[in-house]
Amino acid sequence: MDPTGPLSTDGLVQLLDHEGRALTDDVYSPYVANLDADELRAMWRDMTLVRAWDLEATSLQRQGELGLWVQSLGQEAAQIGSGRALRTSDFVFPSYREHGVAHVRGVDLVEILRIFRGLQHGAWTPQDHGFHMYTLVIGAHSLHATGYAMAMKRDAAQEQEPGAVVAYFGDGATSQGDVNESLVFASVYNAPIVFFCQNNQYAISESVTRQTKVPLADRGKGVGMPTVRVDGNDVIACRAVTEWALEHARSGKGPVFIEALTYRVGAHTTSDDPTRYRAREEEQYWAERDPISRLEAYLESRGELGDEFRAQVAREAAELGERTRTTVKSWTRPELLEMFNDVYALPHAGLDAERAWFDRYQRSFDTQEAAQ
């Protein structure tokens, strides 16, 4: 790999190597020094459950129960590690693949599938979880995140506990104007925001090498914000780096850009076929760097996993799969008019007019008056 290019491993923060051996880092190790075996097992459990559920959702799409599915397969460490660094006072702006973060923020994974069954645009209340709705427009939410962070800063004087924003986006989004505008505003306004870029190496079929000539983290340098590159398949390093970045942002020092180098093991979506644009060897290389087996190896080597815990998580995963399957199939189609319900918090004349129009339009298919 090009030592200076976007996939360079130069300067990549790593606390577990890909065979599960612990490494140390002067800056970041202290941020995870307090993680005990329970916490590490909890992260392993999160990743395992999210993956099992992800595979179940993929099957459901293939059985015609979901219109589309977007797998997070392979990105569990970046999501669970960073997600577990968050506090209640923090607020997340996800793209549409952040299922692991959603899980950590207390969103019921099964509910997420309402969106992908085409039943709802958003399947949870953002305020309840400090987790904004999924944004399907690439990079658009980075602006919302930045604005939210700027507002948070103004509110900070009244808040008991300072919070920060994390905006999750992918490598492809870094080429969008929205993301670049966000970086500029966040930087000059010193907004409490962490830009968490999961570089999963593909924007659908477009390799990251066609998005950038330098590591993506360098995008932050251009606007003068601290940047970190982290091994996105190392859950402990992701946790440490995000802990550091959030502390930096919450303490008023401004935004941070994190690039988590990971790999999208699955397809972009169930409509995509990655075998058309990437090599088996490459997939094999990354399979050997799987985030779950890495932590597993680490825990095993310390005797901290245990058959009983494994069996318990396997059971939980099976139950989650079963619940996912039966729940998804039980969902009935909501009234189309319901889509107008949660658009604005307050009454809105324009929306009311649109609702009334749509109601009439819909009824127009019911009546038989035209059949003469």
């Binding site: 129960e65 979901l66 409509s271 199939k329 039980s330 189609r333 127009s364 298919f365 003469q372």
Partner: protein, 493 residues
């Protein structure tokens, strides 16, 4: 007892309509589990392995390797309860429909008719209870909802587009307003689930006044396509002048000549037959009144000449008929009550807020009356273009049935044949028809002197059930006034 479930080919991409079967990983008799890979398919986008939604024993592979299968078509049958206890209920897929019917309070003994389905689909609460009970709910409900058109055997396997959450059976069907607006001719073909069609097709159907539920769908998952609508129109177009096979036969070719050679008997069919039916129907249901007006149209002839020289009109043929059409449209605008239709069945008058302007045309096939859709919206130039299209199509015999449908008022240009005027018979379903006579130079009193002027005769026939003599007179007078002085159009426009 064996309980059979079928797996319908899902849309593995976004909006795919079909896929090829590449490999079956299973065979009849195999025991399979949920999410076990069963078949590899190739779509327009990718090779995809499909996992089984059922646990059970494979009883049928319904498609073969190499087949191209439409999304929604069943590909696999699985017995999901091979070791179950035999039960009294011997139904297979049909049982699902009965189950739902029971839950919604309908007589379970009734066949899976539209009524049972409507109840099942329209009552939301019991079905939520049902949903908890049955892991097969999604599929069985579809089956139930879709069984209207199939026989009992088909009931469990209706071609359904599974996916996108679009499940015909699960949508709440708004109950039809009591007693309101039943289609003419009863509900013989009305299905009791929402009709699937894309918005442009719905729009087309609305414009044509067609109830989509009466159209036989051919698209994937019971989708009504544009072609279905067009086919349906062709099949049901008997009320108006329509095209039939053999329309282009020379008029005597189909006949038999008497042995003495003095006459030929030709069976009455196609356009001739339609014309006869329409004219009899019109003449003997609508009491016709005809009013006449002779007009000095010299100013109109001047305008025609000017427009012919106008570069903006260089691409169209400007004729007096164009200006008559415009004059009639202006008159209709001032007297919209004339643009109407009598509905005998419902005892209603239907006032149309649009003008589909019919032009009676003599064609190789016979008399046809295609119309210019929404003519009231067209500026003069656009009207000229439409008129030209209509005439060209009629001449070439390619007038489509759609072009002849839903006319609201008609002009017959009898003057083209050198005739002064006539008493035209109404195009069925319309309330007025204007005959436009030949325009010739005649002696005429103009500004107190006898001058040679361009003069024509107009005749307006109308349906006296809904148009009184006064209204007819006003309409005819307005047409004449504009023809006499086109600048009046500026005043009324």
């Amino acid at each position: 007892m064996p309980t059979y479930e079928r797996f319908n080919l899902p849309d593995a991409g976004e909006g795919l309509t079909e896929a090829d079967i590449v490999t079956w990983h299973i065979a009849v008799g195999d025991a399979i589990e949920v999410n076990q890979a069963i078949v590899e398919i190739e779509t327009a986008k990718s090779l995809v392995e499909l996992p089984s939604p059922f646990t059970g024993v494979v009883t049928k592979l319904l498609v073969e390797v190499g087949d191209t299968v439409e999304v929604g078509a069943p590909i696999l049958e699985v017995d999901v309860d091979p070791d179950g206890e035999p039960a009294g209920d011997t139904s297979d897929g049909n049982g699902a429909a009965a189950d739902v019917a029971v839950e919604s309070g309908t007589d379970a003994a009734s066949p899976p008719s539209g009524e049972a389905d409507k109840d099942a689909a329209s009552d939301h609460r019991p079905r939520e209870v049902a949903a908890q009970a049955a892991s097969r709910s999604a599929h069985s409900e579809e089956s139930a909802a879709r069984s209207t058109e199939g026989d009992a055997d088909e009931a469990g396997s209706g071609a359904v587009l599974v996916g996108y959450g679009v499940k015909p059976g699960t949508a709440k069907r708004r109950p039809r307003k009591a007693g309101a607006l039943d289609p003419v001719g009863g509900e013989q073909d009305v299905h009791d689930y929402p009709v699937l069609a894309k918005p442009p097709v719905r729009k087309l159907a609305k414009e044509l006044g067609l109830d989509l539920s009466t159209v036989t769908p051919s698209g994937p998952g019971g989708l009504v396509t544009r072609e279905d609508v067009e086919l349906h129109l062709k099949a049901t177009a008997a009320q108006t002048l329509a095209t039939y096979p053999g329309d282009d036969q020379p008029w005597l070719a189909a006949g038999t000549t008497q042995t003495d050679g003095r006459a030929t008997r030709v069976p009455v069919k196609s356009v001739r037959k339609r014309t006869a039916e329409a004219m009899v129907h019109s003449a003997f249901t609508a009491p016709h009144v005809t009013e006449f007006l002779t007009v000095d149209v010299t100013a109109t002839m001047d305008l025609v000449k000017r427009l012919k020289a106008d570069r903006d009109f260089a691409d169209v043929r400007v004729t007096p008929l164009l200006l008559v059409a415009k004059a009639l449209l202006l008159a209709v605008r001032r007297h919209p009550e004339v643009n109407a239709s009598w509905d005998e069945e419902r005892q209603e008058i239907i006032y149309k807020h649009y003008v589909n302007l019919g032009i009676a045309a003599s064609t190789p096939r016979g008399l046809v009356v295609p119309n210019i859709k929404d003519a009231h919206r067209l500026p003069l130039h656009a009207l000229a273009i439409e008129l030209q299209h209509l005439t060209a199509e009629a001449r070439s015999g390619s007038t489509s049935p759609g072009a002849m449908r839903d006319g609201t008022i008609t002009i017959t240009n009898v003057g083209a044949l050198g005739i002064d005027t006539g008493t035209p018979i109404l195009n069925p379903g319309e309330a007025a028809i204007l005959a436009f006579g030949s325009i010739r130079e005649q002696p005429w009193v103009h500004e107190g002197e006898i001058k040679i002027r361009w003069v024509t005769q107009l005749a307006l026939s109308f349906d006296h059930r809904l148009v009184d003599g006064e209204l007819g007179a006003r309409v005819l007078a307005d047409v004449g006034r504009v023809m006499n002085d086109p600048s009046q159009g500026l005043v009324w426009a």
